[in-house]
Symmetry: C2
């Protein structure tokens, strides 16, 4: 364990809430926190991993800042691999500010972005890919990102990396052997195929990532159609039908024209294009422009007509993403001259709202099941595979100059280590030369 | 302990963050959470108050939702006075949504506002005033609110309530005694004074609360003055000088024209009136109107002139709240024809910025030291003292009709119990008749 300075940071979002968590990490963290706790002896003698109540104090002003609970962690069982404290205070800006102030006055400093996870990485608690995945889990807003993170969590990435590394290492041993013992013999055709094979795998990975990248954008559903067809009613009905639980929590702002709903683990922005126009009716033109823009950005457009007024059809270019809806079928007198692929509803009577929801869900599920890459979990990995690919092309180019081919294969292996964040290249050489091992 | 159903809720703000806390409370809470945990046996046999790692799972889909830590509480040491669980997950909307979904699928329901604290109150863990103070602590944004909450925390409210109650009870006993034994003797003058005394105390409380109510508004500081005097530079400098620690945390939006800073425990909105104009330059008139409005709402106006251009003086009506500043004194060639109460600075050279800060701080400290009421900690209390006051006036009015005077004194005592939320009026009568106790 490295002896770094003590860092402190708020680990929960800023806002008014029942609770907030402040994390403190570093060898001296227990001592520093004890200086800010009225019951310092109780805190210092408390068992690890056990939560107790304390008073967090400003000792200079002899004032209680907040009544808190806190957990003390030893370095063996903490997130960072250092001694740590987690402080649970009331969720109030002034209190959090005062607590962080006291901690810094007593020797801690405010942590930089990701510094706790960086320490976990430096202390060998997690590898770089795991560290990245923690960030990605927090950042994910859809099922695909979640599947990618789960891959990492379940160690599938390491399996794949290790198997590909294995291939390269095997090849490298053979080439090195040839260099050593049989300089005149051409490298086997089989090996050439192996390189080609890896190149193709990487190309496939890259193209999968390219397609994921598009799906990864936050999904938007726009409700559009002629005036008075029921856009805002449909908006409110769908929001009520499947509002994300988290948006029910006080403090979450409710926008009148857009609302986040969660469908099949995808955070989706539902937009009422009627609202866009209404709020900007001073500048009607601008409102329409904005609607058009929203529709272009959307992955699904719910196009709603009403049977009691003239139909307007959506632009042909939108066909792929439009779900057509006819409202007010309850006043249609039994007539039904709508097209087959349309959903007939009555928002007022609550008819077929579930069908609209199912139609949306179906499209979302299709997105959810898109194939995900096995090796690339983020842009950094994408960049590294790009570099790998270039080295592999060099290997092909210099196939008949074995020393050069060998050199570029080493470079590919280095990039695998880069993936895992093992900047100490010793290990690459060790693993290679352990096998090589012909007394040279 | 009442056997209520199991409630679950997010206890931290919604947003992307390292951690989120989900609280679960109710007799069956341990059982319900165990159904969502892969290591169910480990969880069920875990010691109370200890934090352990678990996998939170969707058992139906056999999928890990998140790797969490959790603490199990027994009813004797929990916040609500019921069996409880606190779940610490990653701070991600989709994960939080899934966890709450799983909990509700397994028998919990989403908690309403303040329901955890309400249970703590119902289970006798806290009285109503303490319960309210928890809400007020979270909601407080300045030193005065904090001082009021500290009063409550340190039980000063209960002391005062009890001493006032004591006075009323003493008086009531005397009046009842008179009714019983000496119907013809007039009530002592001393007692009349006591009522008058309490009325005056309550009137003082109310007027203190009235003045606090104004100070309680979130404080605004507006930077105003002629164009090019350095408004935006001063804004940025002050923000940098004392930015609230919490606003450094990723995810906090940085507004270009207003920023929250914390000075002496007051959340203060610092507003750059230049910015108001600049962002709305299409509708210049509206921008100016808004500036005027901001200045009127502000408790402090930093009025900045620059020595290298013609001065503009603030409106005379603003005198009370203006701090006058002269910028660019470094290019003033030693001349200094400014007024005495003005602060000469150079933002560019960093001269006297601390003096501006100190001038602001001085005014804030004056506000901080304003006298606070002893009995009224919120609007509910204010309403109750209003009712008390009316009953006390009735006591005065019917002073010579002792039965009526006695009746209205009972009513006053009931209002004291209302303050503490003791809806069971038994206690009032008990305490009265215990003293009364003359075999009747």
């Amino acid at each position: 364990v490295n002896d770094l300075d003590v860092i402190a940071a708020l680990a929960t979002p800023v806002g008014k809430s029942a609770l907030a968590i402040i994390r403190v990490s570093g060898k001296e963290s227990h001592k520093i926190v004890s200086k800010c706790i009225k019951e310092a002896d109780k805190f210092l003698s408390a068992s690890f991993n056990y939560i107790y109540r304390y008073n967090f104090v400003d000792n200079k002003r002899n004032e209680i800042i907040d009544d808190i609970t806190a957990i003390k962690y030893g370095n063996s069982k903490s997130y960072t691999g250092e001694d740590m404290v987690e402080i649970f205070s009331h969720g109030n800006k002034i209190i959090i500010n005062e607590i962080l102030n006291e901690l810094t006055k007593n020797g801690a400093r405010l942590a930089g972005k990701g510094e706790f996870t960086r320490r976990a990485f430096l202390n060998g608690k997690i590898d770089l890919i795991k560290a990245e995945s923690i960030h990605q889990i927090i950042d994910s807003s859809n099922e695909i990102q979640k599947r990618i993170c789960n891959n990492v969590k379940e160690n599938k990435y390491e399996e794949i990396i290790n198997s590909w590394k294995q291939d390269i290492q095997t090849l490298l041993v053979e080439i090195e052997t040839e260099i050593e013992f049989s300089e005149d013999v051409a490298v086997e055709h089989k090996n050439y195929e192996m390189v080609d094979n890896i190149i193709n795998k990487i190309l496939k990975e890259k193209s999968l990532w390219d397609s994921i990248r598009v799906l990864n954008k936050s999904q938007k559903i726009v409700i559009a159609g002629p005036a008075n067809a029921g856009k805002s009613s449909l908006f409110n009905t769908l929001v009520g039908y499947n509002r994300a639980i988290v948006t029910d929590i006080p403090g979450t702002t409710r926008d009148t024209i857009s609302e986040t709903i969660i469908i099949e683990n995808n955070e989706i922005e539902l937009i009422d294009s009627a609202g866009i126009r209404d709020t900007e009716n001073k500048i009607e033109i601008e409102g329409i422009t904005r609607t058009i823009q929203e529709i272009e950005d959307a992955s699904i457009v719910l196009w709603i007509n009403s049977v009691d007024q003239n139909r307007i059809e959506p632009d042909e270019r939108l066909r792929e993403k439009v779900i057509k809806i006819n409202n007010k079928i309850d006043i249609n007198n039994g007539k039904n001259d709508t097209e087959n692929d349309e959903i007939n509803i009555s928002i007022e009577m609550g008819i077929n709202i579930d069908k609209v929801y199912e139609a949306i869900k179906e499209r979302i599920i299709t997105i959810n099941h898109a194939e995900i890459p096995s090796l690339i979990a983020n842009e950094r990995h994408y960049q590294i595979t790009e570099t790998m690919l270039n080295y592999l092309k060099d290997v092909i180019e210099y196939w008949n100059e074995k020393e050069k081919a060998s050199y570029f294969l080493y470079k590919v292996l280095e990039e695998f280590e880069e993936l895992l964040g093992k900047r100490d290249r010793e290990e690459i050489y060790n693993s290679i030369f352990d096998k090589f091992c012909i007394g040279k």
